[in-house]
């Protein structure tokens, strides 16, 4: 499914928080249409890694290129780049003062300067896509966690992004709502979207991942296809981690 052209490339990227070395010499690339799943223990730098991709954090050295644009703090193209990269957060981060429909329309209207009618049409299309067209006029606080996360996914899709980043999209959800969100993500994967997903949902990973990445202590320890990753991981750290989470 994935093409050959790399759409995200990290070349020897390092990131520090003060003295703390959060990303250590990261080199990795994501091809257009590729679905990459990143896992690893807490504090290993997974969030930091994907937050660098849309410039929510900035790396300190090395080269990071996304969709042909080099990412760095002083870049003039960073706003343009963020429109191409959607992001879904663990805590949803919907705008609580706006209705669901307004949440979806505000980006296209204010950032992309699309007319209201067209923005609304797009918003309704993507609400259908995440299976909650009937919630359009409610405020986010009236929705369940699973519904809120699906709205958040639709909000990113409304920007017509070419890359979608997910940072533990289901870890704040009650167990019975996890699948409704994962189903939407699987459907999204089927459309050929480039996705980078931080998650510990290994069932999802098996179903959609083209590439599995295991991180520990700021390093990429292992990169493999799902078959190899789940059956025969190279490193002991990765094996120990998998044993632990697959137990549950």
């Amino acid at each position: 499914m994935a093409g050959d052209a790399a759409i995200i490339t990290f070349e020897h990227v390092d990131k520090f928080y003060g003295d703390f070395h959060a990303l250590k010499d990261i080199s990795i690339s994501v091809r257009e249409g590729e679905r990459m799943v990143i896992c690893g223990p807490s504090g290993s730098g997974k969030s930091t890694l994907i937050r660098c991709i849309n410039g929510l954090e900035f790396h300190n050295s090395g080269v990071l290129t996304v969709d042909g644009i080099e990412v760095f703090e002083a870049s003039r193209s960073i706003l343009k780049l963020r429109q191409e990269v959607g992001m879904v957060f663990q805590q949803f981060n919907l705008f609580p003062h706006l209705t669901v429909l307004e949440n979806l329309m505000i980006g296209p209207m204010k950032v992309r300067r699309i007319a209201r009618e067209e923005a609304e049409r797009t918003a309704r299309k993507y609400l259908d896509r995440v299976h909650i067209p009937e919630q359009a006029d409610k405020y986010p606080s009236a929705l369940s966690g699973g519904q809120q996360q699906r709205v958040a996914i639709a909000r990113s899709l409304c920007m017509e992004s070419r890359i979608m980043l997910f940072d533990e999209p289901t870890s704040a959800l009650d167990p019975e709502m996890i699948n409704e969100v994962l189903d939407v993500m699987v459907e999204l994967a089927d459309t050929g979207m480039t996705m980078v997903v931080v998650t510990h949902e290994m069932g999802f990973a098996r179903k959609v991942a083209d590439t599995m990445v295991f991180m520990d202590a700021g390093e990429i320890v292992e990169t493999a296809s799902p078959e190899t990753f789940f059956t025969n991981p190279e490193s002991a750290r990765c094996r120990a981690f998998l044993d632990q989470i697959l137990d549950h």
Binding site: N54, G55, L56, L79, K80, R82, Q83, V85, G86, M87, F89, Q91, N93, L94, F95, P96, H97, I106, G107, K110, V111, R112, Y139, S141, A152, R155, S156, M159
Partner: protein, 281 residues
């Protein structure tokens, strides 16, 4: 599964209830009664004191200062006009303070070293000058230099003084919006200005409203200070009437009551607004 437990007879340990005395002291009725007793006591004290001085009460002369009806028709009295002047002054000064306060707060939060330094410098400068001195500064120093009259000096002085307090309210309100809102706004490509305008400020209003009410009330009350440069507002009018009539007790009671009525109405009005805001969230 056996028989359904009877929900009307709980089997667990009952939860401790507040003591009867605590419940009574907490009740609204009790607060209102306590308030009335205190106010009544104060009024009685003042009255008996005045009586002991042999003060000649002339309450019947007060209504004419609110309005008069003669053969010429209905006319507003001096106190009413003074009240209008006070409200205008406070409103204009508040608008100025709001605009300036927003600018100072945004400068402070800009993350740029120079802007933050400018904001903090301004804040500390104004905060450490007494309001009265600030007023003299505006009227006697800046007034002649830039050629503005006592009204303009008053509005500028009150506006600048309160902008400092308001900027802190705005800053606290902005900081109360969760960081995730910034991240979500940023990740859909908004720049700082757009994020503030469409996402952050609308949400922070909810946090700002209660302290802002306090500020409006504070503004109305502190506007009385401009009476020292003879701006014809409520307090100045009160003083003028007294120097003509020597009814200091009646007039000061009346003026105090008028201020109190205005600030109470403002508080109640804003708490209404707060409720509506809370509902639409």
């Amino acid at each position: 599964m056996t028989a359904q437990p009877d929900i009307h007879s709980p089997r667990g340990r009952p939860l401790p209830q507040p003591a009867p005395l605590a419940r009574t002291v907490d009740s609204v009725t009790f607060s209102v009664m306590l308030y009335l007793v205190i106010v009544g006591g104060l009024v009685w004290l003042a009255y008996s004191g005045a009586q002991a001085m042999g003060y000649n009460w002339q309450w019947y002369r007060i209504p004419q200062y609110f309005y008069t009806v003669t053969e010429d028709g209905f006319q507003w009295g001096e106190i009413s006009l003074g009240l209008v002047a006070t409200l205008w002054l406070s409103a204009l000064a508040f608008l100025l303070a709001l605009a300036l306060g927003l600018v100072v707060a945004l400068l402070r939060l800009s993350g740029l070293v120079i802007c933050t330094a400018v904001a903090i410098g301004f804040l500390e400068f104004i905060r450490n000058i007494p309001l009265l001195v600030l007023l003299y500064l505006f009227y006697y120093v800046l007034g002649p230099i830039f050629g503005f009259d006592r009204y303009t000096a008053s509005i500028l002085c009150l506006g600048v003084f309160h902008s400092v307090l308001i900027s802190e309210i705005i800053r606290a309100g902005i900081n109360a919006v969760p960081k995730g809102q910034w991240e979500a706004a940023t990740s859909i490509g908004m720049d700082r200005g757009q994020a503030y305008r469409y996402i952050i400020l609308p949400q922070s209003i909810r946090f700002m409203l209660p302290p802002m009410t306090g500020e409006v009330v504070h503004m109305v009350k502190s506007s009385a200070i401009v009476s020292v440069i003879a701006v014809a507002e409520l307090t100045t009018i009160g003083r003028n009437i007294i120097s003509d009539t020597y009814m200091s007790f009646e007039i000061w009671f009346t003026i105090a009551a008028v201020y109190m009525a205005v600030t109470l109405i403002l508080s109640v009005g804003v708490s209404f607004m707060e409720k509506r805001y809370a509902v639409s969230q």
